[in-house]
């Protein structure tokens, strides 16, 4: 189940999508709209996407996570449009025979989604101003060709602080635009 929707996310549908007789654990992650970012108050978030590519990248992420962690189920839904406080913008559900793997895969999926899937959020602040959130990392294409599909032989860099993923082959570089840092002013999710 890979979806981009303008409607409220049906979390029950994600959990049903990852049900399996082989699963001993299911983990559901929700990214929700937070009111406070430091001293600033958010009124709402507006999400937009390059939908065809976003769906393709989300599908690649699910396939890669399923392969790397031998998941028994993986579902990703991202919502677009305007979201009020507490509403979920993204939902990820994974299932696996044992819980540790499900937690690890779920974390990798949300972290990587935030780096590579072409979706953007605009903050509508309570003071009436609004701004697009663009993590302040400079671009990749000229600086870091290793993360691009044209140079897939080299595994892309990972943040130095990130633990190595479980048993697996090379990172799927085609997923990456760049390893962008999370933006500190973003109030969506994690």
């Amino acid at each position: 189940m890979i979806e981009i929707t303008h409607d409220e996310i049906d979390t029950g549908a994600l959990l049903r999508a990852v049900e399996s007789n082989l699963a001993g654990a299911a983990v559901l992650f929700l990214g929700t709209t937070r009111e406070m970012t430091g001293d600033r108050r958010t009124r709402s978030l507006v999400y937009e996407a390059y939908e065809a590519m976003a769906h393709k990248k989300m599908t690649q992420l699910a396939e890669e996570a399923t392969r790397r962690w031998s998941l028994t189920g993986c579902a990703i839904v991202h919502r677009l449009g305007e979201l009020g406080l507490r509403e979920a913008s993204v939902a990820i559900a994974v299932s696996s025979p044992h819980r540790q793997v499900a937690f690890e895969a779920g974390k990798w999926l949300i972290d990587t989604l935030k780096e590579v899937v072409p979706i953007w959020k605009q903050e509508n602040w309570a003071d009436g101003t609004c701004e697009w959130v663009h993590p302040g990392q400079p671009p990749s294409a000229t600086r870091d060709p290793a993360v691009h599909p044209a140079t897939l032989d080299a595994p892309p860099r990972r943040p130095a602080t990130e633990a190595p993923p479980p048993p697996m082959q090379a990172e799927p570089s085609s997923l990456h635009a760049d390893s962008q840092a999370n933006h500190p002013s973003s109030s969506g999710e994690s």
């Binding site: 953007w120 663009h134 671009p139 599909p149 635009a177």
Partner: protein, 81 residues
Amino acid sequence: MNVQVKLFAVAKQLVGSETAHVDVPDGATVADLRAALVQEYPALSGTLASVVFAVNAEYATDQTCLAATDEIACIPPVSGG
């Protein structure tokens, strides 16, 4: 050749349109496209250094060659989730 570039988020806001149109030489690369966009859309000049481009829904490098039929998109730093 004339190419159309999909714009999103701050790039769309700066240009005031969902697409940009620029002329580039046949066989042009993404780097050539960057240069042409700055010429045609000065409003993007401060932003283009931080964007990447996608060609046919895959991330491209500055060396990627373009064809007139390609679907090209300007991808500012993403902020989904």
